[in-house]
């Protein structure tokens, strides 16, 4: 998709003014954090697990080349093929080539953020192949031609009435006056529509939550079982994953799985945790004839050795989105690309450029809640600050902000001048605000007074009053 991250402020404004979106977000902002905190409370060793998870990912990232090559060897040994994609273009071309090699007409897809990142569906459609999203949320937004607004709940921005409307518009073969009020009815309808698609698909594409170096396996977690049908029924299974999804051992994956669902949805474990290793072997009752893994870099290896390396620990659990006061205020589409929320605000500038996504790392109060819930302790606020430092160093920070900072710095670094200036400002503001104790509008402060009153200062500064008290005391 064409990014609109540069229009974050306008996007956010639209999100704030959208009452249906706000109703949907109001449910998310309480539901997800409550379920996570309950799940964490039930597991006394959760903090220790976070440390263990962080250590596993740090070790893997420090030896990424080693484990990626081990993984490739083991995929090959199990009869699969690993394809290396440096960029989104390469990933799209590889997937299309595989689809064409088996003359694919339709492709079923499990949920994959990497497929979103490389804009796979558009590419396949353009070349005459029909992609069918099988995750319910992804299916809904595919019908609506919308990007996901959340990395694990792609249709979180919608209310069920909107889903019912989309189903009625798309499923014209069904009774137009059928009741579609309960979520259950919509799930059943999606199942009815998707079942023949699972059976007809020539190729199944899934993401990968973990890639296991020691076995060459991939693991996906879902709550709908759609991933299993996607990867076992078609003749060809393609795993599309980014390079940082690698972990050394199954044991490591087990540790991270204990963190993942609790952080994401507050479940102990996702309903389905499915491992796949290579194609169908002689004697196997089912499974694909071909097993391919497309490993995407797309700028990630460039983060190694930089202040953003810790971002490669990310499990894509979405806890940072669910707990971010900015995300739950504006919704995911405001971020203008694939990854929203704090993890998106760190990752997006790295993947599509700081010029395009410059607002994202700035639209944070540094409240720190994201870091406090991250299952692998990624210091997200610190990395948002690093982006701001790069912006400042590259003079991408707006001129007014730079000028303001220079003036502020000039005064703050001269305590005598500073105390003089604050003394005058304090007295003037206190005098001007003496009747009401606050201002409804204030020149040069409309960013503040446009939405809230500005309390008036008491009058004299602490330092002048303290100096006076010291003088009196010493007499």
């Amino acid at each position: 998709m064409e990014p609109t991250s540069h229009a974050f402020i306008d996007n956010a404004r639209a999100g704030l003014a959208n009452p249906t979106l706000q109703r949907a977000l109001a449910l998310a902002r309480t539901g997800f954090p409550l379920r996570r905190s309950q799940a964490v409370a039930r597991l006394p060793e959760f903090e220790a697990l976070r440390e263990a998870g962080k250590a596993i990912k740090d070790h893997t990232i420090a030896h990424l080349d080693f484990y990626l090559e081990m993984y490739e060897r083991n995929v090959t040994a199990s009869g699969g093929t690993v394809h290396w994609a440096r960029s989104a273009e390469e990933a799209r071309a590889i997937v299309l080539d595989i689809c064409r090699s088996v003359d694919a007409k339709t492709v079923t897809k499990g949920k994959s953020m990497i497929a979103e990142e490389v804009a796979l569906n558009d590419h396949l459609e353009k070349h005459g192949i029909t992609p069918v999203e099988t995750d319910l949320g992804e299916y809904i937004i595919q019908l609506r031609h919308e990007p996901p607004s959340h990395i694990i709940a792609p249709a979180i921005h919608l209310m069920k009435e909107q889903v019912a409307d989309s189903f009625r518009a798309a499923h014209t073969e069904l009774d137009p006056v059928r009741p579609l009020i309960e979520a259950r009815a919509m799930c059943d309808e999606a199942r009815t529509i998707l079942r023949p698609q699972f059976l007809a698909a020539d190729v199944g594409i899934t993401g990968g939550n973990f890639l296991i170096a020691e076995t060459g396996s991939s693991i996906i977690v879902t709550n709908e079982g759609n991933g299993d049908l996607t990867q076992t029924l078609p003749r060809v299974h393609i795993v599309l994953a980014s390079i940082e999804k690698i972990v050394p051992t199954l044991e490591d994956a087990a540790t991270l799985l204990r963190l993942l669902a609790r952080s994401a949805t507050g479940q102990e474990f996702s309903s389905y945790t499915t491992m796949s290793t290579g194609p169908r072997r002689p004697g196997d009752l089912d499974g694909p004839e071909q097993y391919h893994v497309v490993l995407l870099d797309n700028g990630r290896s460039a983060l190694l050795g930089t202040e953003f390396q810790d971002m490669l620990r990310c499990l894509k659990c979405a806890a940072c989105l669910n707990h971010c006061p900015v995300y739950v205020a504006v919704g995911g589409h405001a971020y203008g690309w694939v990854y929203p929320g704090p993890m998106g605000a760190v990752l997006t500038p790295a993947l599509i450029g700081l010029h395009e996504a410059g607002d994202l790392p700035n639209a944070s109060t540094f409240c720190g809640r994201c870091e406090s819930v991250c299952p692998v302790k990624i210091p997200l606020p610190k990395m948002l600050r690093h982006w701001r430092e790069r912006q400042f160093a590259e003079k991408l920070t707006p001129r007014t902000a730079r000028t303001g900072l220079s003036a502020w710095s000039f005064v703050v670094r001269r305590p005598g001048l500073y105390h003089f200036v604050t003394g005058v400002v304090g007295r003037v503001l206190a005098w001007a605000g003496r009747g009401r104790g606050r201002f409804r509008s204030l020149p040069l402060a409309t960013g503040w007074t446009g939405v809230r009153d500005m309390p008036a200062p008491e009058g004299r500064t602490f330092h002048s009053l303290w100096a006076e008290r010291q003088r009196r005391g010493s007499k």
Binding site: W408, G426, R452, L465
Partner: protein, 257 residues
């Protein structure tokens, strides 16, 4: 009570300019906790505006000024979780690549504390001599909560204020939308956050809301008054020090005499 200690008050720029009473409340509480309090005159700001805008050079220059001004005291105490967090957590990060100044930054960080956690955790204060007959709720300002673990300490001391009934605020740990320059750079988003906060405060039925950071309090008070809610907004130190009569609530006019 702990040994006598020589404490330097880092007033913070917002307290200095907007609400000096918080500074005097801090002094009173520190003296009650057996500290002698001094106020280095060479202090201005902790440097957060530059640090959070990506301007490391200016942030470092201001931080060096703070390090110099506050050298030699037993403790540095700050009536703000945000500014205390800046010194305690972020100064060492700021000078991580500057070995010439790192040791001094780490040394200052180690003896710098947020006011209420200092009183309770370091000075062992368990009660205050104050009366304030109000039903109040409490907002946990983000930096104090998540960088300095300030959570229980203000509640423990507020529980000893005569006449005060504290009711918990749902979403107390959710940011109010201040965020320094965030609130003016992204006013619509900030407005949504502080509107939600104001609604949650109003829904508690409390007649007052307290917190430990003046930035958040200015934001919350400004929104509450804009919405017409008559909720009294005060810094926790004013209540603990029994100085609520010294000054009207934040954003409220002085009583006519």
């Amino acid at each position: 009570m702990a040994e006598p200690a020589r404490v330097a008050l880092l007033v913070t720029c917002l307290v200095d300019l907007f609400r000096p009473t918080i500074g005097f409340a801090a002094v009173k509480l520190l003296e009650a906790a057996g500290c002698s309090v001094e106020v280095p005159l060479a202090q201005t700001c902790c440097g957060q505006p530059a640090y959070n805008s990506g301007d490391r050079a200016d942030a470092k220059a201001v931080a060096l000024q703070v390090i110099k001004a506050f050298a030699g005291y037993d403790f540095v105490v700050v009536p703000s979780g945000s500014c205390a967090g800046m010194v305690r957590v972020h100064y060492p990060e700021l000078f991580a690549d500057d070995p010439g100044n790192l040791a001094a930054a780490v040394e200052l960080a180690a003896r710098t504390h947020e006011l209420v956690s200092f009183l309770v955790d370091i000075r062992g204060m368990t009660s205050v001599a104050a009366r304030w007959p109000h039903a109040a709720t409490y907002h946990d300002a983000c930096s104090g909560l998540r960088e300095l673990s300030v959570k229980r300490q203000p509640r423990d001391l507020l529980a000893t204020v005569d006449g005060l009934r504290l009711c918990e605020l749902p979403g107390a740990e959710t940011c109010c939308g201040f965020g320094g320059t965030f609130c003016v750079k992204y006013p619509e988003i900030s407005d949504k956050m502080v509107s939600d906060k104001a609604a949650e405060i109003a829904a508690t039925g409390a007649d007052a809301v307290l917190a430990g950071d003046l930035g958040c309090l200015l934001n919350i008070a400004g929104k509450l008054s804009r919405l017409g809610h008559a909720v009294e907004v005060r810094h926790v130190a004013e209540v603990l020090a029994g100085m609520t009569d010294a000054v009207p609530a934040i954003g409220m006019p002085a009583a006519r005499s």
